[in-house]
Subunit: 257 residues, 2 copies
């Protein structure tokens, strides 16, 4: 089965569902019970509904884990992991740094992943063995860049405001050592890491659907992605991605200090 | 004189000069004398050189203030204020949230401004009286949105790490009151404010070329932009932009508290 072609079709359909809502005036519900602002949009729901329909029709025995509509048959050997709009806050702020995440796990291991940015027309995808960026039919192989030492690294995180006090202290130990720390960008940060433009992404509090689709892209580009304790990242929680093993190990030591 | 058509031509030529460098591997010089990382790229210089040539040829008696090549005849009645790549750190990180800023002052007052994002194909422009966004030949009028109270506002700043301790304390007094604070985005933040997607942008340490081109866009969309003390913003320094006078006044009171 050529899952890549199917994922491409899902991305196209999902992008068509989302784009009419981007930069339109829309009311963002607040699905969180007070506290952190967590917007949900019609676009989110429309996109996930379409992708779920396509999967159910094409692969009725596959499972689905999605941000908006919960789990369906999550114990299946093949499970799709969907986040229709990763970076909803960027989306409602009119910024182009959100993306649609489409991941496929086989027997628990991320096998295929795509980050689709329908406004810029970018499709970052990977299989764990290889990764590419296709922008308006122009294809480019993704490779992370070498980075021997934290002192020459660019580090990204979506926002320090999303970290607990304990996590922030650990994050700060790395931030203080790097050359250039940058905030913002959600899934986009992992994709520019895969493309060799930044060296580290460190986040916490992720859900599986925030990271599963990105793992085959990062690893396919030669990068490393684990939890802050060096374990697998696909369950979410704390996540660190690096383009070079040397700074990954150095950052893990600081996070654990 | 139709300055708008000339600005459009400058944007096109400048974008052609910049794009070959975007997401290519390029060494970023460090023009700062230690301390904060301040990258300069060949793209920056190539773009500004082209825009300066165009101005000198078309308007030999106009002045030019540019980020890369300094001042030329800055006492002229018409002075162009150029920042070829505002958001150089975003640029070298492969992110699409940088832009080319082209401003024109007459007798010291910003008269025309454009923010051009050649990767996404967006041109935000304004005259102080009106503002528009043209994306791939589709034109849209820009209007800021109403926001009666800070508690429902989205606030952006490029990075709290760019603020002094004193500025950060003032900034935090506003941040603690808003609904959604977001980091990142340089000039792009002011443009999504003009487009009615965010409500406030608060920054400090800006140069004139970081803000002059954005003033006619923000004001043309119905927004307000001043220093943190309510004075004119076109000399740079501390800057606050708002889509609605009510939250502008509320934020000024907190910044000055």
């Amino acid at each position: 089965m050529d899952f890549s072609a199917f994922i491409d079709k899902m991305a196209t359909r999902s992008g068509e569902a989302i784009m009419p809502y981007f930069r339109s005036s829309l009311a963002a519900d607040d699905k969180s019970s007070g506290g952190v602002f967590d917007p949900v949009t019609e676009a989110d729901r429309a996109s996930e509904a379409i992708m779920r329909d396509m999967i159910l029709q094409e692969f009725p025995d596959h499972g689905i884990v999605g941000e908006e509509f919960g789990d369906h048959n999550p114990g299946a050997s093949h499970v799709w992991v969907l986040d229709p709009i990763d970076g909803t806050k960027a989306f409602i702020s009119g910024l182009p740094t959100w993306g649609t995440l489409i991941g496929l796990k086989r027997d628990g291991t991320p096998l295929h992943g795509m980050m689709h940015q329908p406004f810029t027309g970018e499709r970052f995808s990977g299989t764990g063995e290889a990764a590419k960026l296709v922008t308006h039919n122009v294809e480019r192989i993704l490779r992370t860049r070498a980075c021997a030492d934290l002192s020459s690294a660019t580090l990204m995180t979506t926002s320090p405001l999303l970290l607990t006090e304990f996590e922030h202290a650990a994050y700060r130990r790395v931030e203080e050592r790097v050359r250039l720390p940058r905030y913002g960008c959600d899934c986009y940060a992992y994709c520019v890491l895969a493309a060799g433009h930044v060296d580290l992404v460190i986040e916490a509090g992720l859900k599986p659907y925030d990271i599963v689709a990105l793992i085959p892209i990062i690893e396919g580009a030669g990068g490393i992605v684990t939890s802050w304790t060096g374990g697998p990242a696909h369950e979410g929680g704390t996540v660190i991605a690096s383009g070079d093993r040397r700074i990954h190990d150095a950052a893990l030591r600081l996070l654990d200090a």
